[in-house]
Symmetry: C4
Subunit: 372 residues, 4 copies
């Protein structure tokens, strides 16, 4: 009996999630994990994947595999990126900078939230080689909004991810109960010196501080016209995040969107909406190859990614799993998380006879006959 | 760290329900919460909503929203009213008067039960400006019944809600086990001085006092002819409450009903009947615009209302949730309850791209393929 | 506060079942309640009813209701009879005689098992006015079998119920584990003096005594020819019990069966077979009015009966529920059980607009789209 | 009361499984029982059978039954054989030899794993009369692979079972957590003296020893060409094990496969693939009678076998159940296990009107309408 190396710690993304549940303070944990209202869609986002079964091909030579792809014209090492999530410094002091560096290290995309606790410039400096996209919320104050876009453009961000599902925020009951506030040592780093825009998330007003922030500052009149408005002053390609209907996807293409992220905001907006994987194929059918399609929501293992690829997504993004990795050990935890799921995807491809993303065949996935 | 305002108490209707379960005496609580027999339909009334998923529209300007509508020709501020429930003074000393005042305050409809513990005149006086409808049970004693109708008409009630699903009462096992009786300090306030009609619910006779009351006094020969009979002496429009089949709805229109409430009496009559939301669209399909359609049963959150609207209801009514609000703090509790769910509906509309009730689009809801 | 009458004891059939679970000795209880193998069908027999939902008619005058019907040409007060179950004296000293007397008292049918612990003649004497049918197992010893039939005929039994699903017995694991034996003070009362035929169920041989009995004495070559054989010497109409397929039902009619009991032997034979309610309508469709159709299996409440009637059964039979009633208080317990479920059926009919069994309309029941 | 014989110990295969869970060391138990990743398919392999319901025929003379069949031209006493499972000596010192002797004793097929802890020659000697097949993994070292095949051929094995679903191994999380290693007193007995090929499974390297073994030694370029390669030097018929798609089955026939085992490797490779019983009928439909079809995965009772037969399998194989039998009492335990399930199949056939495997009719099984 030789002596064994130390216990392998993390075998799947759920291990990171479990760990985060133990170490994060209640306020932050609840903010991160919650879905809207009674969280039916939150559960469904994940559980829905189980309804799609894999029908794998055998006896394909899979000794050489390539997971890379081109996204918006740029090479990505594997089709799993980082979704924009707000206020990452609550999970780890390095916050967004750590996540961006992990994306750079692994060769994937980092989407930075408007509501970051690190500024555009800080993130750009931390991960200059990473492919970075900027997620945009449109403020009532259009000048502020415009400046934000121009700063991102200048800092080397390669696309604007316009979040279309959040004219204001869904009700996350735990945040109301907790009277959630952004901890006082943190701030909305993109709005330093802009008064409420910088500080208001730190004031719960007896409810959820972040909801108050959004309700008072975001522009609820958000509409298709704003896509045109953005294009009027920014060169960046526009990606619409939060589309759940085929007709909306088609309208998006008309308004000049370069890509669409099928998303329900991690089930944080309207509880009861469809799981993202359940709408993907109908949207793919409608848009065909007229724009790139990505997906986020409930992705926690390699086979989830594989199913999304087979159903029409070119890439997927991770929201909460990245936060759990970050909470574990900053940049290193995010890297471990990404490597784990990348490895799982690699394995799932090998075991279903796929050697490249292009070779992922459509009938790899058997779709359920009924929605429930 | 600034000092926080006191804990926000109630974040959703379930919070009121939980509270009522803690404070109400067993006999009353069981009476209020029970469904018939093994309560399959009681669970299904609620759970069924989860099978209908929302497919929301994005990038509609939702900065201005209007939840008002016209019901039976009269403006209502939002499409959520108060269903008739018996004996509300068991929940709070102010009983029906408090509920009616809450409806008045918020600009919605109060339906008063025949089996109220406050009289028609008391309620009329308590909430003169409220839109009040009178729910009618037909007694064997037709003179008594007729007088009831005329009193309601005189007191300013605007419609008769004829309950058609209760020729006699379903078996609610807890009431039998509890030998439920109306507490001796309360009475059937619409029948003061009428002997059994006033007092019999206070005598369990070893079973359920209310079932005995109904079995001995209600007219089990209730039929379509009675709709004609009512129209023969009352000017009030007639609303049929308790229809679950499209053919019955059509017959109702022939007999001159002005509107229909799709209802299974809160699952208190025949266990095993379909959930109300499951029958709504087939009834809507049959009646089209020939009469207004409302629904009650299992509505406990804003998205439930939104789904009912999308499937053809012009308005919904709340039974138990109003009782839980009443038990919490009388009129104020009912108001809080109504405001909460109104707010949830408002939010659900905003997040699905609806600015008015008319703009609620039909394919907002994805219907399940199978019943189960 | 007036003083209350004593607690109403039994509000539904489940109350009797719970009671029996507390008082019966383990060996007997396990014998009665078990289904074959892993008891999937046992659960499904009951649960399946929940998948059929009721769509009730309103505003039918239901003040007068008649539950009586004609079965095999004879009036029965309500369409719920007693299925044949073996060895009833283990549940109560009065055994089959008590059950038969209860059937007589209420005006319904008692089916007596071949494997009774009271003899044909005892039962005939105990309940001379009851409509009694004799359930037949065919023994290898055909002379014995023939004599049994002739004794039943002579004793006034009105039909032969040939059990077709038991050439030998299914594996009920608890009986094997318990090494079940008929208690030594009881015997197979129809076979007194016939050696093994009387006593062998009292010998477990390390397994299940009743299975050994059946395996060594029943004729496993049971086939359609035996229907012809029975008709060759008995005038009694023959009812086939245990049919689950439409084609078998049609063959049965060809061989001269007068009626069919759709049954899976209370899920005691082959685990994994369909629930009886799930096959009823397809069999009804095949046989039409060419023979009467009955059903047993999992019926425990009035709505179960109503659903079976709507789907094509003229009558249903209760197996275990009668045993639980018997265990409670002999004849009186069986009567209470029958009265309870009769009352539930009566109520279910009233609340769905049915005044007679003939008026039970076909679309009262909404069938599930999928089997599961 | 006579004295009873000792408790009958084992009444169903689950009893053996429960027993094994109590006596096996953790490392071995986890290795045996685990499925890949989150083990959805592991549960589904079993649960899927419950979705298929039996529609049994009555009144067929079943007094004489014959469960024998011809598999690859050779008589087998009943259609249930032993699937190849690695490293059986961890369950019992007699390992593969005991299993092979049990198969010989009962007249069924033993498939020996490449990764056995007894050698080809040991097994051949232990059970010379058994029908033995050799399961083959293809190593990077093709000479080693070839020699293995030739040894098996020489030792009297009658077919090559080429496992096609394992170019490398799926992730079984428990093995990673346990840092599973083949116990040091055991070895890969077919590779004695071949260095890593003999010993590497005994080195976890901080992960799963068996996965490391496979990853470094198996040929991941495994493809259809290898079927041709095998046929180029071996006379043995080739059976493809691990096919889950109809198109792959057809390709297999083109490449000269004699039979196909529909299998997902006991859910140990790619979690989320379809349950084997769910794909069987579509594959049968495609291949018709052009090759024999077998199945493994989740078979634990007689009705599972019957369903597989009805849906197109000529035979089924048991993986884990044989291991639990082996762990119980070596050869005797495996024999008991096989006898139990053979008896269950016999009983299921009798109770559904089948007297031979040929008489198993296709509509014996009602297929679920939806996958879930
Ligand atoms: C804690 C948290 C914060 C989020 N913040 C933002 C945000 O600022 N902007 C945005 O567009 N989406 C935001 N999202 C949504 C994510 O971009 C993404 O759609 C979602 O998390 C994907 O689901 P998953 O968490 O199941 O992976 C947030 C999600 C979470 C969980
Ligand atoms: C405690 C209680 C008493 C009720 N009393 C009456 C009544 O007197 N008349 C009537 O028409 N409906 C009555 N109902 C039915 C309600 O009007 C309504 O149909 C039902 O409560 C709606 O379901 P919900 O409780 O899930 O909202 C009663 C319901 C409850 C729960
Ligand atoms: C304890 C017990 C004994 C039974 N004995 C017989 C019998 O002797 N002959 C027979 O034809 N059926 C017998 N059956 C089956 C019943 O007649 C009937 O088909 C079944 O019990 C109906 O299902 P239920 O118990 O769910 O009502 C027996 C059932 C049970 C539960
Ligand atoms: C512990 C274990 C080891 C196995 N080893 C092998 C193997 O060496 N070669 C192979 O082809 N299949 C192997 N299998 C898969 C089995 O041959 C078979 O496909 C599977 O066990 C059938 O599912 P069941 O365990 O539910 O009966 C193994 C399965 C188990 C559980």
């Amino acid at each position: 009996m030789e002596s064994k190396p130390s216990k392998p710690s993390m075998t799947c993304l759920a291990d990171f999630e479990d760990h985060a549940y133990q170490i994060l303070p209640r306020n932050a944990l609840d903010y991160y994990r919650s879905g809207a209202d009674h969280m039916q869609t939150l559960k469904d986002n994940r559980r829905a994947y189980q309804r799609y079964r894999i029908s794998p091909k055998m006896l394909v030579d899979v000794s050489k595999r390539d997971l890379s792809t081109r996204i918006m014209g740029k090479r990505v090492e594997f089709p799993i990126g980082i979704a924009p999530t707000a206020m990452q410094r609550m999970a780890h002091p390095d916050g967004e900078c750590a996540s961006a560096r992990a994306a750079q290290e692994l060769g994937t995309i980092f989407i930075m939230s408007t509501l970051s606790t690190s500024s555009i410039e800080e993130v750009a400096q931390a991960a200059p080689q990473a492919t970075k996209w900027f997620q945009l919320y449109i403020y009532k104050d259009r000048e502020v909004t415009k400046k934000l876009v121009l700063r991102a453009e200048k800092a080397g961000f390669k696309a604007l991810v316009l979040t279309v599902d959040a004219p204001y925020f869904g009700r996350r009951l735990a945040d109301v109960r907790n009277q959630f506030e952004l901890p006082s040592h943190l701030r909305m780093a993109n709005f330093v010196g802009l008064g409420d825009l910088e500080t208001k998330a730190g004031q719960s007003g007896g409810g959820s501080g972040i909801n108050n922030y959004v309700a008072s500052l975001f522009d609820q009149s958000l509409s298709w016209q704003d896509v045109a408005w953005l294009k009027s002053f920014s060169q960046l390609p526009i990606i619409l995040k939060g589309i759940l209907r085929a007709d909306d996807a088609l309208t998006g293409i008309q308004y000049g969107a370069s890509a669409i992220i099928v998303s329900n905001h991690g089930a944080r907006q309207l509880d009861g909406v469809l799981a993202t994987i359940d709408v993907l194929s109908s949207i793919k059918e409608a848009v065909g190859d007229r724009c790139e399609l990505y997906l986020d929501g409930g992705v926690t293992q390699g086979t989830d990614v594989l199913k999304a690829l087979a159903l029409g997504a070119k890439m997927v993004f991770l929201g909460r799993p990245v936060i759990w990795g970050l909470a574990h050990s900053g940049q290193s935890g995010v890297e471990q998380t990404l490597r784990l799921i990348k490895g799982e995807l690699d394995s799932a491809m090998a075991l279903s006879g796929c050697t490249t993303l292009k070779s992922v065949y459509q009938d790899l996935v058997i779709c359920p006959k009924s929605l429930m």
